[in-house]
């Protein structure tokens, strides 16, 4: 068991930078998710922690010890691979026992711990099977047991759920989280799925093009995103480009003036207004400024895709009752739009390619 610290960790391949000065402090027992689109450097970061990729600069500390130059086999991390990477020629029990064997644990102790680990992931009936005789979900649990049985100082998960079907994914997510909390594992999980990150991790690290964009809890990232990229990547968000006009408000690129609240930390000049779709109120209105373009019924919620003076705007409302006038809206209708100005966050537009969702 131990904490994990990354200090200005960087990886460059020739001219291109895969990871740029990542700092991270994961205290004992915390689960942190590295979240970002593919190619953002999250997997490279994880592989540097495991020791498979030598960093170009910076340090990795596990339990306070610098392991930057330590080979993978001496790092005492437990990794679950995206492909599970089970040993195809070994039985389930032998797969799980491998790490103990490498640690020269005696046979009796080994068998006891393998049994316990398999019970932990509810696979104790299948110990004599070969990996190819197991379903994807079962293989996944063998991979978990194999990584956990050695009591790793740091638990590493590389997109552990991406090869499972949607239903199983939800279950395994809960299972991994409860294991992690029960065993108090210091954990780093890599994922591109924000829902996975939001539901499993104590804290999230949003990465883009090798850099950390923001570190924080799910609430931090959702409610106070640091920039348009984070706002767009974590949850859904309307990102409207424009400029601040003082006094008055926010002038969109298409010329509309929108209400918002200025604060002492509001950036000047070109900004992006981030507005969560659930904050956008709509009402049918003959002379409304927005036009309804599409309605998507999702059961409990309904999505309204609007055109607001040339700016696309998404509103998500609880599905209206049958007698609600909203229910009668159809494509092309004029709609009035409003929101609490405090809900609209103004973010610096420094990243021209930081596109939203």
């Amino acid at each position: 068991m131990g904490s994990l610290v990354l200090e200005a960790l960087s990886k460059r391949y020739g001219q291109s930078t895969a990871v740029e000065r990542v700092d991270l402090d994961v205290p004992q027992g915390e689960m942190v998710a590295l979240l970002g689109p593919s190619g953002c450097g999250k997997t490279t970061t994880l592989r540097m922690v495991a020791g498979f990729v030598p960093p170009s600069a910076g340090r990795v500390l596990i339990g306070g010890t610098d392991v930057t130059r330590t080979p993978p086999h001496a790092r005492n991390t437990g990794m679950v691979f995206q492909s599970y990477a089970l040993f195809p020629h070994m039985t389930v029990a032998d797969n799980v026992a491998f790490g103990l064997e490498m640690r020269r644990v005696n046979r009796a102790e080994r068998e006891k711990r393998v049994r316990e680990a398999l019970q932990l992931v509810r696979l104790d009936k299948l110990e004599d099977r070969l990996p190819r005789q197991l379903s994807g979900g079962q293989q996944q649990r063998v991979a978990l047991a194999r990584a956990l049985v050695v009591n790793p100082a740091v638990f590493l998960l590389d997109e552990p759920l991406s090869n499972l079907d949607a239903k199983l994914r939800g279950e395994v997510r809960m299972e991994i989280r409860s294991l992690q909390q029960r065993l108090g594992l210091t954990t780093l999980i890599v994922t591109h799925d924000q829902e996975e990150a939001l539901t499993m991790a104590d804290r999230l690290v949003v990465m883009e093009r090798g850099r950390v964009r923001q570190v924080g809890t799910a609430e931090d990232l959702y409610e106070s995103p640091a920039d348009p990229f984070v706002a767009g990547f974590v949850g859904r968000c309307n990102l409207i480009e424009g400029e601040l006009e003082t006094p008055g408000g926010f002038r969109t690129a298409t010329g509309a003036l929108l209400p918002c609240i200025f604060g002492p930390r509001t950036p000047a000049g070109r900004v992006v207004m981030a507005l969560r779709p659930e904050h956008v109120q709509i009402a049918p209105a003959e002379d409304g400024p927005a036009r309804l373009q599409a309605v998507t019924y999702l059961g409990a919620q309904t999505e309204y895709h609007l055109d607001f003076n040339g700016t696309p705007l998404l509103a998500i409302r609880q599905t209206p009752a049958a007698e609600d006038p909203l229910r009668r809206l159809s494509n092309g209708d004029a709609v009035a739009v409003s929101w609490n100005p405090a809900a609209a966050r103004l973010l610096p537009a420094a990243q021209p390619d930081g596109k939203g969702a």
Binding site: A50, G51, F52, P71, P72, H73, A74, R75, N76, T77, G78, M79, F81, Q82, S83, A85, L86, F87, P88, H89, F98, G99, M102, R103, R146, A147, V150
Partner: protein, 269 residues
């Protein structure tokens, strides 16, 4: 129970015909080897094991068998490790020009045996002149030529088995505390094992049955079994040869069956 569709029936018929066509000569040889009369003709006048006894008593077949066995074993023992190393380097180090190298290593499969044999013979004569040492009609010369037969099969089979291994499994082993050599021994080598075993089998058979390459390279007193059979054929034409061939066929079949117990040949090749 319902009847199979005409399409299925036609397919089954075609498969059976193909197998019959391939196996007919083999079956023929085996049947002829127990015909009593010297000149093969139908119907047989009777059955006998005389030809097997004759084959056993003729020195050239027994000696040819032993020397074929010796050469095939040596060629396999030398060629398979070489080919395995080459396959490993090609797959893992991905050297520049790797695909050209691979094609070159598979080359002996494409060159007709007689051509390769002639070329080697001429090369050996030249080398003998320069080195002032016998090469043609020596065991070493013959084994070296047969190593050439074993390499393409080995490269092909071991490459395939290596490509089937998820590299992450090796990383997982390292992650669990295995040092690099242990990773190789416990994860990489087992993955290559079916390929290597199949390579041994095919190499051995290739060498054991080879006629064309050996033809010019064998020396007096060191004749391989196929060459001995050809020599016999020049002067006589009786079922002794069929008896020898039958023994050869059975040996190969037994080797295949034994190998198949360890690795599934159909899956590996």
């Amino acid at each position: 129970m319902h009847l199979p569709s005409p399409g299925r029936l036609a397919f089954g018929g075609l498969v059976s015909a193909a197998f019959a066509l391939m196996l007919a000569p083999v079956a023929m040889v085996m049947v002829i080897s127990i015909f009593a009369q010297e000149i093969v003709s139908f119907p047989p006048s009777g059955f006998t094991l005389e030809w097997y006894i004759n084959a056993w008593q003729r020195q050239e077949f027994a000696r040819g068998f032993l020397s074929s066995l010796q050469i095939a074993t040596l060629a396999t023992l030398i060629g398979v490790p070489l080919g395995t190393a080459a396959a490993f380097a090609l797959v893992r180090a991905k050297p520049r020009g790797g695909s050209a190298m691979q094609t070159l290593l598979l080359g002996p499969l494409a060159v007709p045996g007689v051509v390769a044999g002639t070329a080697l013979y001429m090369f050996y004569l030249r080398a003998e002149f320069w080195l002032d040492q016998d090469i043609t009609s020596t065991l070493q010369g013959l084994v070296a030529a047969h190593v050439l037969l074993t390499i393409p099969w080995t490269v092909r089979l071991v490459t395939a088995s290596l490509q089937g291994l998820d590299r992450a499994a090796e990383e997982a082993a390292a992650n669990l505390g295995a040092r690099p050599f242990t990773v190789f021994r416990r994860v990489t080598l087992p993955a290559m094992r079916p390929g290597i075993i199949a390579a041994c089998l095919f190499s051995f058979i290739q060498s054991f049955e080879n006629l064309e390459l050996s033809l010019l390279l064998v020396g007096p007193g060191r004749t391989t079994l196929p060459v001995a059979m050809l020599n016999y054929l020049e002067f006589r034409m009786d079922p002794t040869l069929a008896a020898v061939a039958t023994v050869q066929i059975i040996l190969v079949a037994v080797l295949m069956l034994i190998t198949d117990r360890f690795v599934s040949i159909a899956r590996t090749v």
